[in-house]
Amino acid sequence: MTDKKTNRRDFLFTATYAVGAVGVGATIWPMIDQMNPDASVKALASTEVDVSAVNPGKTITVLWRGKPVFIRRRTQDEIAEARAVKLEELKHPETDEDRAKNPEWLVMLGVCTHLGCVPLDQKGDYNGWFCPCHGSHYDISGRIRKGPAPTNMEIPKYEFVNTNTIKIG
């Protein structure tokens, strides 16, 4: 058998293997992708909330994508407290101005960034939220101050449709 012949055979087998592997990959993908959020779940991605009945100093919790969203109407004192915190005191430095575009309203995912529990309102050492699962303390801007959570509570994408309505997502 000459070298040329060997090469051609190798090429044939390599090509067969390669083409076969592509097919296997293309077949596996639908089986994986079917577990991703389906079209009806994706369609529910935004929720509108009427906040006209929320008084200063009160928090409401609404469901968005199966998770709680805290919407707190903050008092002037709370805003002042949140804005007075220096960045170097923070484990995850973020200014309150960045977190609450409209300072009166704090809209954030009510999910502890440690392992996903829902923190309790107006508890803990920083006047904000306290997660009962593993003792993470958040301030009135929802920033992590003490405990195992690595980051501040997440701010979802939201906008004011009008003064009384917030659209989350």
Binding site: A15, T16, V19, G20, G23, A26, A39, A43
Partner: protein, 259 residues
């Protein structure tokens, strides 16, 4: 090998013939050229949009389409209304929602994620309003009828005066394509019944074709991607089969047996 494939194709042919014979009563349906048939079949977008118009203006007062959502109208492979158009369509319907904080149900304008609003609360209400006959949900109607699109298309145009000797009860009509020829739905279409937004002449034939196309899409919303993927899959399989065939020849050439 040749022998083997001859036998095999005979068997496959037989089963094809067998499945064909399932359609027990053979009625010659009216024929038209459907754009979605064939290896590369696609829906005619304009027909789908017109069909949706016929559905909303004519059919939807009795027939629900409970598996469709307004978002589907803007999805790829469907009527492909723009997102804004679909939103406007959704908003033109009153959707029941709730309960609110006071525990009461309320209505609000529809959203893209809402299902098509149903004409009746439930099957019983639909029956009560239609002389005991339930106007079937049309989401999968095309697939639920033996004759498929041709049957629906023909039925819509199949109203006739009953032949002599056939008496019809009140609220029953004669249709030459209906199973048993008696149908509880009156003829709904007449020339110029709807005014098409794109200016197409709304003849009975045109409306029947458009709304049937729309129903086909409703029943098989992924038909276009199915056809596209199918073509790719089969071409791919043929290429791999050829490669494997030559690999096989190469491998078996080491022994003196033919494959």
């Amino acid at each position: 090998m040749k022998n083997f494939f001859r036998k095999l194709s005979l068997i496959i042919l037989f089963f094809g013939f067998l499945s064909n014979s399932f359609a027990a009563e053979k009625v010659e349906y009216l024929k038209t050229d459907w754009s979605f048939k064939g290896l590369f079949g696609k829906f005619d977008r304009a027909a789908l949009q017109r069909g949706y118009q016929v559905y909303t203006e004519v059919c939807s007062s009795c027939h629900s389409m409970k598996y469709l959502s307004y978002r589907n109208l803007a999805e790829k492979g469907g009527p492909e209304f723009t997102e804004d158009q679909a939103k406007a369509i959704a908003a033109s319907f009153e959707v029941k929602d709730g309960p609110n904080e006071d525990g009461e149900m309320f209505t609000r304008p529809g959203k893209l994620s809402d299902k098509f609003v149903m004409p009746y609360e439930n099957v019983k209400a639909a029956q009560a309003a239609n002389g005991g006959a339930y106007p079937p949900d049309m989401s999968v109607l095309v697939k639920a009828r033996g004759g498929g699109v041709d049957y629906i298309y023909s039925l819509l145009q199949g109203y006739e005066e009953p032949p002599a000797g056939i008496t019809l009860d009140d609220g029953v009509y004669y249709n030459k394509y209906m199973y048993g020829n008696k149908i509880k739905m009156a003829n709904q279409l007449s020339d110029g019944l709807v005014e098409y937004a794109d200016g197409t002449n709304a003849s009975v034939e045109q409306m029947s074709k458009d709304v049937t196309t729309f129903l086909m899409w409703a029943a098989e919303p992924h038909l276009e991607s199915r056809h596209r993927m199918g073509f790719k899959a089969i071409v791919y399989l043929i290429i791999l089969t050829i490669l494997v065939y030559f690999s096989m020849k190469r491998i078996w050439s080491r022994v003196e047996t033919e494959v």
